[in-house]
């Protein structure tokens, strides 16, 4: 995917929210959708089961308008977290400019978080992408739950964030940390404008 197209003056960023099932990826997108003015957002496509589990993926297009003369568009995707949707995850991950890994802060979900994080790396490697070069941030979601049920930011960072990427505690249901996460990944992605624009004409 072309991040920046100098010829058509367009910047398009594909950001994928990745993480274990029920970690709050779709909730992140729903919160963002609710905060964005109507003229800046497209229709959010969400394919969910009757129990609100993402079956395929969510897609939220954001048209940020003209920024420094560039028509700037963000495309936010989520992947289905359940293990058996591996092929959908791979498909959604293709062409991603950045990844937000949404971890579930609940202590009992630690193994799922680690397994999903490994799954992310495996899928990137399978697509020939060096995970170290892919813009990545981690969000520790559900920090609003009772202390006794969740791990602290430091504990989670110790367990998951071995690469030391930017990380953000969040409560996606109510909003804290959601835009901080989005801003974090966006800044890293946009830093790569110059590096990635060579072939994007």
């Amino acid at each position: 995917m072309s991040l920046v197209n100098y010829a058509t003056r367009e910047i398009t960023c594909k950001i994928v929210y990745y993480g274990p099932g029920r970690s709050g990826k779709t909730t992140n997108l729903h919160y963002i959708y609710g905060q964005v003015p109507d003229d800046r957002k497209g229709k959010m496509v969400s394919l969910a089961t009757q129990t609100d589990r993402t079956l395929f993926f969510d897609f939220l297009p954001l048209d940020l308008g003209a920024i420094s003369g560039f028509t700037t568009k963000f495309q936010l995707y989520t992947v289905p977290g359940q293990v058996y949707y591996q092929s959908t995850r791979k498909l959604v991950l293709q062409g991603a400019d950045g990844v937000v890994f949404v971890a579930d802060s609940q202590r009992r979900q630690l193994d799922e978080n680690i397994e999903s994080f490994q799954d992310l790396h495996a899928n990137l490697a399978e697509q020939g992408v060096d995970a170290r070069t892919m813009p990545l941030v981690i969000q520790y979601n559900k920090q609003d739950l009772p202390r006794e049920l969740i791990m602290s930011r430091d504990e989670l960072a110790e367990a998951i964030n071995f690469r030391g990427v930017p990380d953000y505690p969040a409560d996606a249901l109510h909003g804290p940390g959601v835009f901080e996460t989005l801003r974090g990944i966006s800044e890293i992605v946009l830093k790569r404008l110059s590096a990635s624009s060579g072939s994007a004409r």
């Binding site: 920046v4 003056r9 905060q35 940020l64 003209a66 920024i67 420094s68 003369g69 801003r183």
Partner: protein, 580 residues
């Protein structure tokens, strides 16, 4: 109008509302007069027209003369020149400037004289390839107070509208997007994104991409600029590369115009659309100018060794051999005469090939049919390329012309041919002509042309005698049973034949007749075909079956009716099927 140093492309905020205008202005600055001439920039007050105009003034190649005026200044200077009677120098100054920029065209309303002058100037400058850029505050259709001629002139090139900035105050781009409302979260996000984009977007790539887009749209190959885009860092000389590209395009345009004057067929040649092929384009123009376009050479189909010599043509062959040995010195011009089919074309082209081979390919040998020569002459006359056409033929070392008799009655072609032949003979170049009749026997041939050929050698080729016919029949009856050849050749050689062409035709006819009856070619078959064609048996009919044979419908493999018919009930239905 004083040019403000701050008003440059680099300080112009580009956004969707003005990017087309900026791209056009950049293209004009890179190569004035090459594309978008005149360029009309349309937009309301404050959208940045004047800034763009001044950016062009400062963006053109150093050394070019730029006249940058407001419409008021244009009218004022013209009025002053009228008062002092010094209009000529002023007009000359405006005519010859490399770039003429006029701001706020609408302000010429009510100034008829100035409008007339500007309309004339635009027309003159456009045809001379000198750039004009005009700005105006409204679409031309709404310029009722301006003369229709002027409006027509300014709109003959490219007109681009500049809209008001969508997200900032008119004429000013803060670089920040409009949040359009939304939560504080979203506004903060937008602010961050704007900062990141402004920080990381590379101006030099925007500049090169604009140029790629603009030149590509103008029909030029931009590979050299596209390669520039692959650089990770801004090349220190990218502005120079862009200017060089524009200058090369300008040169290509000049070369194309020059080439087309010499040879209209070169218009739009790929070499004139690719700045990386400038040398090719220059070489092409050089060739076109020197008249070195391709001339038809002798046909490789005819060789001297393949020409059968007999009493009927031996004089002609000896003369041709002498010419091949010493071109331009013996028998010049050489005229081969004889009726159709005696081998004039063969000998003419065989001689041409001998001349070319003897020189190792260095000699320019042209072999042209007289009708083609006449047609080329008329085309050159019509296209105004006569000088080039004449030059093209005058550089040959040998001119071979077949069927010269067709120029009889074509007075102007004869004059051209006479002058060409005279020039070539004067220069010691060989001329060989084939004709059914000698010029002296041709009605409608000019005396001078007649005289020039009578100064050379005319040799006649006659219908083949019996010995030559014998050799020719033996050669062409290749494949006939050995036991039959002598009798057949003996029979056929005794029959009259006007020339080789008739002998070949007879052999083909007899071979086909023998094939039709399914028998070998014998004297009997030949006699029946040549002397009693009405007695010749009809060709074998196509085998016909009375009933249609169609595979059973139960054969499920053959479901298509068209595929299951293996025999045909009659010839007519098969023919219809074949032709369908």
């Amino acid at each position: 109008m004083a040019v403000d140093a701050r008003m440059q492309f680099e300080t112009y905020a580009v956004e969707p509302a003005n990017e087309a205008a900026v791209a056009a202005a950049r293209a004009v600055a890179d190569a004035p007069g090459v594309t978008h001439n005149p360029l009309l920039l349309i937009g309301g007050a404050g959208v940045g027209k004047t800034h763009l105009l001044q950016a062009i003034a400062q963006g053109v190649e150093r050394g070019l003369v730029v006249e940058c005026l407001t419409a008021d200044e244009f009218a004022g200077r013209w009025r002053a020149a009228l008062d002092t009677g010094a209009t000529a120098p002023l007009l000359d100054q405006w005519r010859t400037a490399d770039v003429l920029l006029v701001d706020d065209l609408q302000r010429l309303s009510g100034k008829a004289a100035a409008q007339d002058v500007l309309a004339g100037l635009i027309a003159e400058r456009e045809s001379a390839g000198r750039q004009v850029v005009v700005t105006v505050d409204r679409p031309p259709a709404q310029l009722d107070a301006l003369d229709a001629v002027l409006i027509e002139r300014v709109t003959t090139g490219m007109a681009v509208e500049i809209g008001p900035p969508a997200d900032a105050a008119p004429g000013h781009d803060s670089g920040a997007p409009a949040s359009g409302g939304g939560s504080l979260d979203f506004q903060g996000f937008m602010s961050d994104i704007a900062s990141a984009v402004a920080e990381h977007v590379e101006g030099w790539k925007m500049r090169v991409a604009e140029a790629v887009s603009s030149w590509h749209a103008a029909g030029y190959r931009t590979a050299v600029l596209e390669r520039l885009m692959d650089e990770q860092e801004a090349p220190s000389n990218y502005e120079a590369v862009l200017r060089g590209f524009g200058a090369t395009v300008r040169r290509l345009k000049e070369l194309e115009a020059e080439a087309v004057t010499a040879d209209p067929a070169l218009a739009g040649h790929d070499a004139f659309r690719d700045p990386e092929r400038l040398r090719d384009a220059e070489a092409m123009v050089q060739r076109a100018r020197s008249g070195a376009g391709e001339l038809p050479g002798p046909s490789m189909e005819f060789s001297r060794t393949g020409f059968e010599v007999g009493k009927s043509n031996q004089r002609a062959v000896r003369a041709a051999d002498a010419v091949a040995a010493e071109p331009g010195r013996r028998y010049n011009p050489l005229l081969l005469t004889g009726p159709f089919g005696v081998g004039k074309t063969h000998l003419l082209n065989a001689l041409g090939n001998e001349l070319a081979d003897a020189s190792g390919g260095a000699a320019v040998v042209a072999s042209v049919h007289a009708q083609a020569f006449a047609d080329e002459f008329l085309t050159a006359l019509r296209d105004g390329t006569l000088d080039r056409w004449r030059q093209r033929y005058r550089r040959v070392d040998a001119l071979l012309m077949d069927d010269m008799h067709v120029v009889a009655g074509k007075d102007r072609t004869q004059v051209e041919l006479f002058e060409l032949v005279s020039d070539l003979l004067d220069a010691g170049k060989q001329v060989v002509v084939a004709s059914e009749h000698a010029p002296r026997d041709l009605p409608g041939v000019d005396e001078k042309l007649r005289a020039v050929f009578e100064g050379g050698l005319a040799v006649d080729l006659s219908p083949p005698d019996a010995a030559l016919k014998d050799r020719l029949y033996r050669r062409f009856l290749d494949g006939v049973a050995a036991g039959q050849v002598d009798a057949l050749v003996s029979y056929l050689s005794a029959r009259p034949a006007t020339g080789v062409a008739e002998i070949i035709d007879t052999v083909h006819r007899l071979t086909a007749a023998a094939d039709a009856v399914g028998n070998p070619l014998t004297v009997e078959v030949a006699k029946r075909e040549l002397e009693e064609p009405e007695l010749a048996p009809a060709p074998l009919p196509t085998p016909v079956r009375s009933a249609p044979a169609v595979r059973a419908a139960s054969d499920v493999f053959f479901l298509d009716d068209e595929k299951v018919v293996w025999e045909w009930r009659d010839v007519a239905s098969r023919v219809i099927e074949e032709l369908r």
